[in-house]
Amino acid sequence: MPPRDDQPPTVLESSSTGEHARSPDVSPAIDDVVTQFGDAMRRTARRHGLSEDEIDDAIQDVRIRLWRALGTGEKIRRAPASYLHRTVVSAAIDFIRRRRARRESVMKDDDVSALSVEDVPGRADRALNESEVADQVATAIDDLVESRRAVVRMYLAGYEREEIASLLGWTEAKTRNLLYRGLDDLRATLTARGITPESVRRSPT
């Protein structure tokens, strides 16, 4: 394919002998970090609402950023962990900001997304019931003591106890204690408000 005259090539990063010492192919070093990022993403991201496309996009962003930042063997040899860290985190932050901007744009353009299943006449009663139960549970969680509330939210969102402990910097025992107390409080509040296991079963998803 001949060079295009109508549009200059988009060179993301380049360097020549002046900047490069003897430089090996940078791919293996980059692949190592990208693979770790990809593994971490795939381990947790699916269950937290990220699509395959988004995971792939994020991985690609990190790969390109590393490629651009570590374009020379010299830089790879010298790159301390903190430099890799900054590069990868910075790529992730940019990706998150673009993701947020897209989300805001979609919300502005598509207000009908705020409509829920209540708009389907045949499902109105069931939806109302689901909605009531969900509202009651949401309120009951909001009413929990702060330290227990965060743990309960994380647990209900699918985080393992060890993960919660790690993120909060707590011991496993402290996490377990606060989680069980929080869940007990939640159940007691829901029972007091008339939300029983039967209420939940009556309002399937």
Binding site: P3, P9, T10, L12, S14, S16, T17, A21, R22, S23, P24, D25, S27, P28, Q36, A40, M41, R43, A45, H48, G49, L50, A58, I59, Q60, V62, I64, W67, G71, T72, G73, R77, A81, S82, L84, H85, V88, V89, A92, I93, F95, I96, R100, A114, S116, A134, E146, S147, A150, R153, A157, G158, L167, L168, G169, L183, R187, P197, V200, T205
Partner: protein, 205 residues
Amino acid sequence: MSDEALRDVYARIMRKRDATGRVTAVSVEQMQVVLERRGSEEDRVRTLDAIMRDQETRADFEILRAAYEAAPKHPSRTALPYAFAAALVLFVGAQVWRQMRTPPPDALRGSGAAVAVVAPGPSAPAGVPLHFTWHRVADATAYAIQIVDADGGVAYSAVTTDTAVVLPDNVRLREDRAYRWWVEANRPTGGPVKSLVQPLRVVGR
């Protein structure tokens, strides 16, 4: 009410919140504070509680968390000791370096997925701009080109989204010296693919 039932209702709450477009305003910087365990414990708990209030914010947090896991700021205590890690890097670097002095094996296989180069040919006249071009690879998001001299020193490298690169004026390939160049296409899936290694000699007029 069982944990499973509570999780089902909680998932419903999250979907409902997402449908209304109500997203918790937790900044990326606040998320970093949590991941870096900075600030007070109370603040971190409060931030995590806010992050867990909707799926989108939680997904943002997970992307950032994956970046932190992939490239930790400081090597963990369980990581390889520095000296061994450094030796490993040197070893890998040496292997890569050796691969580079001989053409990369992947580049020689010439599989159907490889990058097909177009120009320049094995010799190019001195004093005119050197255009490097290649065919597009399906799904490729970026291409890295490397030009090395006979000793393996990198004369020029660049990452581009295009299928062509013009050697900048400030990069001079010496006349009658043997160079080699190749292109590596980066793809979101299936891993990178390379071109055959191309010989290049700039011939004086």
